[in-house]
């Protein structure tokens, strides 16, 4: 009896949450896939016809936005790594007793709503705001100069909003490095550059990988930053999907685009994982 109970225990524990995820994560994905192959309109309803041409049309209509999103995603992720690494490095190795405080300061933005933070940037960067107005007054900038509405503003917003997600995993990886390993490298007459390249960097890579995983997907599929900080020439695929669902009520196209986006991002992440070795993926997945 007790034995049976013990073997059943994990299943009973997993069951309620597992069912929830099945019902509200897996099933909806299947529903969406089905809807992407249906035809009709919102007033008269949709019928499954296996109309895969929706994909072709959607992709050809919105490839610009899809490609732009991926480009923004890649650029933002690279900037994130470059910006995050030195800060994570310094906190991990020189933060001393105040490490927790520094990390806490880096996490401060999370105590303010994502939407509100982004809107706040809009207020700061606005064309005639307290930042740009004075520069225009003294003639340093032309009157119609603007930061908002440019790709730079959107990528800047993305980097801002996701920076902590890059700093933390890199920090965790660096923090785990045993100082003695580096010491050993030095004892073996490694130059500083070699020690960094051969010892620290490889050990930090899983952190970078985790960071990329935590940022690339949400950055590429984001629509808030481009909506608030961008313009008509920075439209990202997330905005298209959002608008197809929640404005045009064009469900099949929206579903097809969602699926395409998912597929592209997954392929991107997995080929990245392949390049780095699958072990790291599993390590991250198991964390």
């Amino acid at each position: 009896m007790g034995r049976v109970k013990r073997t059943l225990a994990p299943y009973l524990l997993v069951l309620p949450g597992g069912l929830w995820l099945l019902m509200f994560f897996a099933v909806p994905m299947a529903t969406m896939l089905s809807l992407s192959l249906q035809e009709g309109d919102i007033v008269n309803g949709y019928v499954f016809t296996g109309h895969w041409q929706t994909y072709v049309e959607a992709i050809s209509d919105y490839q610009t936005q899809l490609i732009r999103s991926l480009v923004y995603g890649v650029i933002a992720t690279i900037i994130l790594i470059v910006l995050a690494f030195p800060a994570a490095y310094w906190i991990a190795f020189y933060g001393g007793k105040r490490k927790a405080t520094y990390l806490f300061l880096l996490l401060l933005p999370f105590f303010v709503s994502f939407v509100l933070r982004t809107i706040s940037w809009r207020l700061i960067l606005t064309d005639d705001g307290f930042l740009l107005r004075p520069l225009k007054e003294v003639g340093l900038l032309p009157e119609n100069f603007h930061i908002l509405g440019t790709s730079a503003a959107v990528i800047g917003g993305l980097v801002y909003n996701f920076l902590p997600f890059m700093v933390l995993p890199i920090y965790v990886a660096l923090e785990r490095i045993d100082p003695r390993v580096v010491e050993a490298a030095r004892d073996l007459y490694a130059t500083p550059i070699t020690a960094f390249r051969k010892v620290i960097l490889p050990l930090a890579l899983p952190g970078v990988f985790a960071g990329v995983l935590m940022t690339f997907i949400p950055v590429s599929s984001d629509y808030v930053n481009s909506e608030v900080l961008g313009s008509s020439s920075t439209t990202m695929i997330g905005q298209v999907i959002q608008s197809q669902y929640l404005s045009s009520s064009n469900y099949p196209t929206a579903s097809a685009l969602s699926f395409t986006l998912m597929a592209v991002l997954l392929v991107g992440v997995f080929s990245y994982a392949r390049a780095l070795g699958t072990e790291d993926v599993m390590k991250v997945a198991a964390r």
Binding site: Y94, L106, F111, V112, Y160, M214
Partner: protein, 283 residues
């Protein structure tokens, strides 16, 4: 930049607690750099707080026009903003309670037992944590629409529980893995049933992790915009209200509420970190 990370490597890591001999400016540079990053991260928050004290003459709170405390006094003057905030809090409490319960079950099982299907469970959790929010929200919308389920607070809560479970489970699993099994065995040796052992011994030990998971779920829920936008129907949560109000100028009360939420969050975080030493891995 290329020099900065390399220079201190040799000296610092082996001597973490020792003052760094300075031959390079690299360390100082990185110190200043880190502060610069922090300032950059905090700047919009500062602006948000500042404009909660602004006294705009019109309905557009966009240029500084004088100091006032009146928005703190009139914090709840906008009924629909207040009810949006209340809805956000209600949904967050419900979602974090449910997801803590469900997530703890999963996290405990994954950390404590080896069983068939644990791999797929890990994979699903990984999938929910890494899928684009947009796609999750959209797919839930299609599910609810196909089933003819009207959208509202219940569907928002369902969605929030869905994306929070995995985070709670991950936090709890991390704690359970490090659990010293001998304590449980000792309890069993002393005649405690499995049930008693769990509630009297194991649960108190993992409680801080469950609490962290709860707080994480709460924070994710309160802040969520993307998924809520798809599953809210006519209900309006705090982030959704802000989103809607930006079209016509955000009233300063939003800044005040943002400030108060910020202050409360910081306060709770500081108190909990003082009470129990912060765990290194937060996510």
């Amino acid at each position: 930049m290329t020099q900065a990370p390399e220079a201190p490597v040799l000296e610092a890591p082996p001597t973490r607690t020792v003052k760094v001999r300075k031959k390079f400016g690299g360390v100082q540079f990185m110190h200043a750099y880190t502060w610069l990053i922090i300032l950059w991260l905090v700047l919009p928050i500062f602006v948000m707080i500042l404009f909660g004290f602004n006294n705009p003459s019109g309905r557009y709170n966009q240029t500084w026009q004088g100091f006032t405390l009146k928005w703190y006094r009139e914090l709840f003057a906008l009924d629909d903003l207040t009810s949006a905030l209340i809805l956000s809090l209600v949904v967050a409490v419900a979602a974090s309670i449910i997801s803590s319960a469900l997530g703890t079950g999963i996290g405990y099982a994954l950390g404590r037992y080896r069983f068939r299907g644990s791999g797929s469970m890990n994979l699903i959790m990984f999938a929910t944590m890494s899928s684009p929010e947009l796609v999750m929200g959209a797919s839930l919308l299609t599910l609810f629409v196909s089933l003819g389920i009207g959208l509202g607070p219940i569907t928002i809560t369902i969605a929030h529980v869905m994306f929070s479970i995995s985070f709670v489970a991950t936090v709890v699993r991390a704690r359970v893995i490090t659990l010293d099994r001998s304590i449980e065995e000792a309890a069993a040796d002393l005649g405690a049933t499995a049930w008693t052992t769990f509630w009297k011994v194991t649960f108190p030990i993992i409680l801080p992790a469950v609490f962290s998971g709860f707080m994480l779920a709460f924070a994710l829920s309160v802040d969520d915009f993307v998924v809520s936008n798809f599953t809210a129907g006519t209900s309006v949560t705090f982030p959704l209200w802000i989103w809607g109000a930006t079209r016509v100028g955000l009233p300063p009360q939003v800044n005040v509420m943002g400030t108060l939420i910020f202050a409360t969050g910081v306060l709770i975080a500081v108190i909990t970190s003082i009470r129990s030493r912060p765990r290194k891995q937060t996510i």
